[in-house]
């Protein structure tokens, strides 16, 4: 676990003991990153902020259930936020006016990151490695994975967004994830 995650794990331990100052510090350290993820999926700030708020209430009430041996703190937090955002997305699907555009829009979100000030060297390095690995995938594989991870779409939705048969989309995801896994492991991004 890197230094940042160790500090987050320490804060989570304090939050489990009802330490409000630690909760605030945890929120300040992670909320912008987590809101970025929720916003990518929901595409509306108000809904993304609702998800963020609910997620942090879960953190407040459930920090005692966090087990550092099983997941890094950031992964644990990301899981909570993504699950809530995806739930909200699916509940609100009927309200959504438009479908996802056919271009590389989903991944464009990731590209914007290149222009963000890199506040932390480690985060910047990791970001660059992920971008490099994503770039090594075929365009279809990359789009399918980006639509799933950044946009919360399921196979059938990806198939209709990319105008491809379901079986083909499943293969893109499977092969893309295999290549991504190997690339990230070689780059030392994942344990």
């Amino acid at each position: 676990m890197d230094e940042g995650n160790q500090e987050l794990a320490r804060l989570l331990g304090r939050v489990a003991l009802r330490d409000q100052a630690a909760f605030r510090a945890l929120y300040q350290a992670t909320s912008a990153h987590l809101l970025g993820l929720a916003y990518g999926i929901l595409e509306r700030r108000d809904r993304a902020e609702d998800v963020l708020q609910e997620a942090f209430m879960n953190v407040w009430n459930g920090a005692a259930g966090y087990n550092p041996a099983m997941a890094t703190p950031m992964t644990w937090l990301i899981n909570i936020v993504r699950n809530k955002a995806i739930d909200k997305l699916r509940v609100g699907k009927a309200e959504r006016a438009s479908t996802v555009a056919l271009d590389d829009e989903a991944y464009a979100i990731a590209d914007e990151a290149e222009r963000e000030p890199q506040r932390l060297m480690q985060a910047g390095l990791e970001r660059a490695k992920v971008n490099t690995c994503m770039a090594q995938l075929g365009a279809s594989q990359r789009q399918a994975i980006a639509l799933a991870y950044y946009k919360g779409l399921v196979h059938t939705e990806i198939a209709s967004a990319l105008d491809a048969p379901l079986g083909t989309v499943k293969a893109w995801v499977r092969r893309g994830m295999d290549r991504l896994r190997v690339c990230l492991e070689q780059a030392g991004v994942t344990a």
């Binding site: 970025g36 209430m57 459930g62 970001r127 992920v130 499977r174 994942t190």
Partner: protein, 243 residues
């Protein structure tokens, strides 16, 4: 369908972690997750890998209102004591029609301690009932309450609080054991401190480990890898479900 064939499991874990499952498939796989350690681990591995994908997402600063709403929710009714009747209702439910014997005294003491130390089991101050938890109160051989152990029903850690210090012989470890009621062999929960508090990681959710456990005991072990408790029991007590 056999979910647990390794290759199949890896693919399902990947799809689940990526968010590709929905509806019935998601619910069915979540049932598998609760029952299978292998499935849980497969998902954890994928979630850890996928977390890297979050790195390039540009951060978005939340508006101040989000924190203000959160802060307001942290202590909404903290100053307002819940009505006495409902505060004790859960105790009545537990006690009615059940002969708990020694565990009764333990529960009452545990309740007092838990109410003073809500952080022990992660209670919200304003919550009217205790969350589903496993609680054990261990007495020494003189009958004095010495160790309080608690874990949330689905939690993966056990909090231990020493109510009075114990004298651990040099070179030995005070080891906490769980004794299943069906006569199955005792299993080691972890090593406890002589005083103060400790958090012991659990290999599985408390529910899975303690479901059939009736009693807890502490022995002094000179072999850190001992697979069964030494005959001389130092502390012992009931392990009860708080729901």
């Amino acid at each position: 369908m056999n979910y647990l064939r390794p290759e199949r499991l890896d693919a399902l874990a990947r799809d689940y972690a990526l968010g590709l499952m929905h509806g019935g498939a998601r619910r069915r796989f979540e049932q598998v997750l609760r029952a299978s350690r292998a499935a849980e681990l497969a998902v954890l591995v994928w979630q850890e890998r996928l977390a890297a994908l979050a790195a390039p997402v540009p951060p978005l600063q939340p508006s101040p209102a989000v924190w203000e709403r959160l802060e307001a929710r942290l202590q909404p009714a903290a100053a307002v004591a819940p009505p006495a009747s409902s505060r004790w209702a859960w105790l009545g439910n537990i006690l009615s029609g059940r002969a708990l014997g020694g565990a009764l005294a333990g529960l009452l003491i545990a309740t007092v301690v838990l109410r003073q130390e809500p952080g022990l089991v992660g209670l919200e101050p304003a919550r009217e009932s205790l969350p589903a938890s496993y609680v054990g109160l261990l007495l020494d051989n003189a009958g004095k309450p010495t160790l309080l152990a608690s874990s949330r029903r689905h939690g993966k850690q056990l909090t231990v609080k020493m109510l009075q210090p114990i004298q651990i012989p040099a070179g030995q470890q005070a080891t906490l054991w769980a004794l299943p009621k069906d006569g199955a062999p005792a299993f080691k929960v972890g090593v406890i401190p002589a005083q103060g508090t400790a958090t012991l990681p659990l290999a599985a959710p408390a529910e899975k480990l303690f479901f059939s456990v009736a009693r807890l005991a502490v022995t002094y072990e000179s072999d850190a890898n001992a697979s069964a408790p030494a005959p001389a029991v130092v502390l012992q007590g009931h392990c009860v479900k708080l729901w």
